[in-house]
Symmetry: C2
Subunit: 202 residues, 2 copies
């Protein structure tokens, strides 16, 4: 990666609003990540989560509640005929998109974790049956080699992307930052409060 533009001097900005850090606050624990793994494998019931992940009910209950609050899972009532009403945990859109993170982990682990006998699971494209890989590509369709990434801060002078990315919500901050690029990062990038408003989807 190459830092450029407003991000060029790494000591001038703090990565406080970093998406990695934010994501880790939600799925940063082993139990949370493995629960999401199980959800992607199709598990929906409390007891199945507990058994398949190998955690205690207390931890499962706490973690599932957090994941529902964070909008990665939705808790839904359902009822099989002749049975009592139960609850199931289903992936929301946000939870479903965690698939790329899970697949990236799996791909990395399959390649770099010392293990006897190759990867335990085989992931293939349904239908064409070719093996699946996580890749980096740009909007022009090019494969992106690991070193060919340029990172820019969006708080400085607007780039083609920040024009529309920040235009709607941070016009003021953009103007400020454009005027003085030095002492800005914590004001424009970092922050603390959080609005949470999540809608369960598909």
């Amino acid at each position: 990666m190459k830092l450029a533009g407003a991000a060029a001097d790494r000591d001038r900005w703090e990565a406080r609003d970093c998406s990695i850090d934010g994501a880790l606050k939600i799925v940063g624990t082993r139990s949370a990540m493995l629960l999401m793994r199980e959800a992607h494998y199709g598990t929906t019931r409390f007891e199945d989560f507990v058994r398949r992940v190998g955690i205690t009910e207390a931890v499962a209950a706490a973690r599932l509640r957090e994941l529902v609050t964070a909008g990665l899972l939705a808790r839904r009532a359902y009822k099989n005929p002749g049975e009592r009403t139960r609850h199931e945990y289903v992936l929301t859109e946000a939870g479903g998109e965690l698939q790329l993170v899970l697949m990236a982990f799996i791909q990395w682990g399959d390649r770099h974790l010392p293990r006897r006998g190759g990867p335990p699971l085989d992931f293939r494209h349904t239908g064409c049956e070719e093996p699946i890989a996580v890749r980096l590509s740009c909007a022009a369709g090019h494969d992106v080699e690991p070193g060919a990434i340029t990172v820019r801060g969006t708080w400085g002078r607007p780039t083609p992307a920040t024009e529309k990315a920040t235009g709607k919500a941070a016009g003021k901050a953009t103007a400020e930052a454009a005027a003085d690029v030095t002492a800005d990062v914590t004001a424009a990038v970092a922050a603390e409060g959080a609005g949470k408003d999540v809608s369960p989807a598909g």
Copy 2:
């Protein structure tokens, strides 16, 4: 995802050798993941890691040592003229390939974390300057939609992939598994006893 083949019945196998779990043992803490982030942003010196990640020296020292042991970073001596010998931490190949995990986290966080003003960083393909995305694709070049993944266990009858994946390192296991598919999962994937009948799921 669709579970198929030997993996079809989720209650018949344990995900103990799971790559996600294995990866989390190495980069599962906030400090480790953020240190890897900084390494990808080009940081190499101890003090810079401490300051830029915002952790204490004690934690940085411990985590860096673990990451070196795990093979994600390499500790190298170097000497600028007129200065004492110092050590730098540089990415190994395994560490470099964690980029997909980091980018997947960033992409997910940029889309789903509530935030005002859009993502703080902008990642573009060096040269062509188009925005970068993490994607799933198969060896035939197709984009893989989230639902179009078929997951199979490699411990059962060999798939086209396990032929060569396990062929070099676990030829014996493959032979055993092919001969008798029953007491397999615990031996190949998990580790604990639970020999039950397995119907050749498909």
